[in-house]
Symmetry: C2
Subunit: 338 residues, 2 copies
């Protein structure tokens, strides 16, 4: 896929496939025949039906599961919005490569292939309080990197990110596209103190004020107030939709990354589920805005795809029940009122 302009992305979004209602209905019928009171597996039933809808199969599969983690650096880091130095982004990418990070352990447990994609770490985005973070070409390049990262034959995609200062970027996107001011969206990220939090709020307000003219255009906001790893996540989510791959989102940053898409085209993120709600304060409000109900709520706030990868385990459980359980008639179990 090549995107030559923001309009190309908008046109692409208007033309994406919807889910397969017939496969979903067949999965629903199957769920009702399994040896359990109807509905008693709760969200595990809903997840099996959701997989069926987007994979277009009554019996979905989870053979090829991809965890994509995109990394980027942010000019806004210079404003003292993070507890960690910018060098940590590259150090953590090296840690991913060496297998020493949380996401390595969790992705491995989930039977997923981990793809780590650093994007021009030596070329941070510009400080968006005084300039566009990216120009359109830089933004489109990052979207395409994300798009190309997704193996078209994946059965499931989990997306995450790494980027010092990127909760500030995410909060700025939310403030720009949803309003409510900096305080609604700024949290403590990796653990900033009160001074750091004040810097963060100041940066967000300054950015929204500086970019006032473009706030009605979600893709222009994604370029001007976003980050490369966020743009790549948006690209990956579009690729997944094109290839009928359901998606698990990670935390606040990954969810903010798809907000511009969601505003661009109704239903464009229907193939996504929130793997978890993070402890980062804006995430719960953002999920509510997007109509996403998180699968896990474990007070995590690490990023790097960890919450999304953890939710892969729940999908495996949902699928193993869906495909492995006996039906009432197979098992000779009496039904309700029987």
């Amino acid at each position: 896929m090549q995107f030559d302009s923001l309009d190309d992305i908008a046109a692409f979004c208007r033309d994406l496939p919807i889910g397969d209602a017939r496969a979903a209905a067949a999965a629903m019928v199957r769920q009702r025949a399994l040896t359990k009171p109807p509905g008693s597996l709760g969200r595990l039933e809903e997840l099996a039906i959701w997989l069926a809808r987007w994979q277009r199969r009554e019996l979905p599969r989870l053979k090829q599961v991809t965890v994509a983690v995109f990394a980027g650096n942010h000019g806004i880091a210079a404003r003292g919005v993070s507890a960690y130095p910018q060098a940590v982004t590259a150090q953590m990418v090296a840690n991913f490569a060496g297998g020493g990070a949380a996401i390595n352990q969790i992705a491995s447990l989930g039977g997923a292939e981990l793809r780590v994609v650093p994007i021009e770490l030596d070329r941070p985005t510009r400080d968006f309080t005084i300039a566009p973070a990216m120009d359109v070409d830089e933004f489109l390049a990052a979207v395409e990197i994300g798009y190309r990262t997704v193996p078209p034959d994946s059965d499931l995609l989990a997306v995450g990110e790494m980027g010092i200062a990127n909760t500030t970027t995410a909060a700025t996107l939310c403030a720009a596209l949803l309003g409510g001011g900096a305080a609604r969206w700024a949290g403590r990220g990796t653990g900033v103190d009160d001074t750091g939090l004040a810097c963060k709020c100041e940066a967000i307000e300054a950015a929204v004020s500086f970019h006032g003219a473009i706030l009605r255009d979600p893709l222009a906001v994604a370029a001007g107030l976003g980050g490369r790893e966020l743009a790549a996540i948006a690209g990956a989510v579009l690729a997944a939709r094109r290839h009928h791959i359901p998606v698990l989102l990670d935390g606040f940053v990954a969810t903010a990354a798809i907000l511009p898409l969601a505003q661009l085209e109704a239903g464009i993120v229907d193939h996504c589920r929130a793997g978890h709600v993070s402890a980062e304060s804006g995430h719960r409000a953002l999920l509510r805005e997007l109509g996403l109900e998180p699968l896990l709520d474990l007070d995590m706030r690490l990023g790097e795809g960890s919450g999304a990868a953890l939710a892969i385990l729940l999908l495996r459980a949902a699928l193993s029940c869906h495909t492995g359980m006996a039906t009432f008639s197979e098992a000779g179990v009496s039904g309700a009122g029987g």
Copy 2:
């Protein structure tokens, strides 16, 4: 272990080991050295430390994981409190043996050994609105069955149950021991209609009124208003405590089963975590009474250990991060403010 009287159980409870604070502290120190902002793995960190405390090892293990599912039948079923006939208890035990139930799939995914223990299914407890459900000897026998089911070398125990009508039994125990009336504790179980729910409330009120004289004695309540599979769960939880095995509880019935122990001796269920909160209406209130914060909230209400077994996956993730991640110094990653 042989229990010859209710007093034997009470004495046993007073003499049980507490957790290992030194192993927990070492695990906490380790967590802070791993390549992530402190606390950013949220409850996964707390779970690793909890495993360390109860296994008495800085680096816990999950090699031998046991899922114990106890089944029993209930005289109260005759009062129309369930949507399913009593025969389903034995049919589902056969389904467990055949590998066709949800718990088979989830326990297998969690790498756990499933032990299904039907207890005198052809001899239901007595209708506790008009008689004691069990006499003391019957109760003690069920406790001992549960106790003996737990392999002493288990690294983790998940407990669940199967028993048509047993959400009525669980609600009755809660009403008897915690008060608040039938309406606070009665839910729809496997899916009773309004008439069934009314029958359920009526049965609970009748039972509490009939047994008024024993309500101050938690173990007498567990015998007189309980069920065999609930007594067995209590026995299994005591065995786990004796053998330093952390425990995951399943839903409303499994949690109600340990309520008498919790009332008997402070801290007696500190080695237990709630695998999930079920959709059965009384469960959330019961967890709050016990100070237990559930790990999962997926609208499940199946029983058979399914929610507890699902939480095994989270423990495996917590452990894999705890033992598999690199430290800041190993990975050459800068710390906060560094």
